[in-house]
């Protein structure tokens, strides 16, 4: 079924469409989320959140901008990553909210700096070979564990650590020492 058809049916409130979509992409969604969130309960909560988002955002999907699987993958990755960051923040604050803490939203200056950093990272990534870029995205975008990457690529964890170390060093060099 084409992505347009999926979303036409989802927008029409067709329950079977959601079931079919989950049958088709459920395993992939779980794969992305479980790579980022190692706690199975958190991963399950996140998947429930993504399923809800699929309902909500079905109308926002633009088939011309991205393929269906790409869109769903991005949805899963961002939801899982946000949840992971929130968990990390919660752990570091130990539950206490500081009323004097600055607004976490980036200001215009921070936005401009971030755009520069992103451009620099893009240039640095382009210097990596294609296989190294794939490893980089598995590690830093999908946050997969070294063990998982090693098993899926048929190499030992030690060899994978070596590869990631070399990629990191190369990027550090490209990005001018330790500044990012």
């Amino acid at each position: 079924m084409s992505s347009e058809n999926w979303f036409a049916r989802l927008n029409a409130g067709d329950q079977d469409a959601m079931e079919g979509l989950l049958n088709e992409y459920g395993a992939m969604m779980a794969y992305v989320v479980r790579g980022i969130l190692t706690d199975p309960h958190e991963a399950e909560d996140c998947l429930a959140e993504v399923r809800a988002k699929l309902w909500e955002k079905a109308a926002c999907y633009d088939g011309e901008k991205a393929g269906l699987s790409t869109w769903i993958t991005a949805l899963c990755r961002n939801a899982a990553y946000d949840r992971r960051r929130a968990l990390a923040r919660r752990a570091s604050r130990a539950g206490a909210l500081d009323p004097n803490a600055p607004d976490p939203k980036p200001g215009p200056e921070e936005e401009a700096l971030r755009a520069e950093r992103t451009a620099a990272l893009r240039r640095a990534l382009n210097t990596l070979s294609f296989p190294d870029q794939r490893l980089f995205y598995r590690k830093y975008y999908y946050l997969q564990s070294t063990a998982q990457m090693a098993a899926e690529l048929g190499i030992t964890e030690r060899a994978m650590e070596g590869k990631l170390y070399r990629i990191r060093k190369k990027l550090q060099k490209q990005l001018g020492g330790d500044v990012l």
Binding site: T73, L121, Y140, Y141, A150, A151, E152
Partner: protein, 523 residues
Amino acid sequence: MKQDEFDQKLMDEVSQLPPIPDFIRSCTPWQSAVRKILWGMGLCTFRFEFFYLQYLLPLLGCVLLYLGCRTLGQENRWFRLTGRLAGLFLAIHMVHLVLCATPVMGTIEQNHPLSFGLGLLFSLIPMGILFCLRQGTQGAFTAPDGTRPKDYLGRALLAYAACIAIAIWCELVPLTAPSEGPISFGPQITNKFLYTSRSIAFILLYILVLVWVGRQGKALAGRGYDITPAPVRVPGWTLLAAVFLFAAAAVPTASILSARLPMPPARELSQVQGDQSVRVQLEELGMAPELAELLDDHELEQCRKAQMVLPLAPDHLYNQKHLGSWIDGNDVLCPMDDGLSRLTCWAVVLPDRQVRYYQFFQWTEKPTLSLQESFTGDLDYHPCDNFSGCLAWTEEGRTLSVPLAVQLGGGQTPEELPAWALEWYDGELAALGHLKYIPYVTFSMPRKGEEVRGFLAWTEDRSGEEPQEKEYFKIIPILRHQNSWLLFPFQPVTSLAATQSLGVNSPFPTSCASFSTAAKVPW
């Protein structure tokens, strides 16, 4: 900046740089495993019979098959069994490769039940792999509500079973027959349609197997993320390198170790020399001392009543163009490998129209390689018996010798020959009642030995013939030497020893010449 901080920064920043579309689709461990299995099965089955690819590609295929099955091994017991079968298949291939470098493989191939069993093993293991893969796939991808995935692997299994059925049928019902006529280029087809269609059917069925395995992979691509790949202890490239390094080391080693022929224990020549008076008599009649000194008690007894010793003169050189042999007096000298061989022949005329032939060889320059050698006699159409052979050499100032067991080729009776051969060999059959015997000895030269030499002898009975004014004596000695230490697949020198083949383009260069003489004899 610490490593963790740098990593965290990268994670944050890369959110703005999503990967290429469908990146995650290429990550599924199922797809990569199926791809390896597919390539593995293809390489194990479709063979390219040149540049040793018929051995190398199946080995590569087995490694890929094993790597693919190994990835799935953690998922369920069927996948685990698939991995073990693939490992067994790889091990059998490695052993087979090594055995191909030894005479053992030839022995297995000549034994029909063993050869058939080996072929069956090579066919049934992939079938077992397919079966376990199918069971594992059905187990791993059955939905909680009991919905099973499309069973493409089941179809592949059926197609493979049909391939095996065709193979067994071909084995049981031969579609070919030995060709008739003296000039033949292989077996004759008894049923042209079946002969051609069985190969086409086999190829089509096997392509179907691969197509269905591929389809199963694609059908489950979206759900392949459910597979948890097994952790890797030995990386794929390391395993591949280890397998090929093993092959590169084991094959030449097996080839060298098995190429040397077993030799009986040597004795000092002085211990086997008997009645000196006969030897002196033979030398006085014209036998060269280099041959006379090799004759033991038994040989001297054979020649006790010698009337004449006739040196035979070389009258035709075979293989001169390829090896550059030449005639020097009554000797034929022939460079082979990095050595130089010498051939010479004598006929010892005995009473009662008996003749004892001696064809003698010597390595005047010993070649570096001393693996398989053979020395064959091509006889005339007379009844012959009392075959004997001897190898001698000098080692640490002593002359050592071993008797060589003479084997006989040829000798087929008319009942054992096809119809065309009765006409083709009518001369031999009329004179002897069977094809002439071709005596030969096989041996390996002692590593430390110098002046390696030897002879092949037999007695010819001419009592059934009318006496001639001049009797004609002719023999063709054939000396073969293995010139390559790596003989893969292994080829025994015996495959040529009982033939008149000149061994051009074979690993056994052949020194061969016709020796003859005509003389009045006191019969």
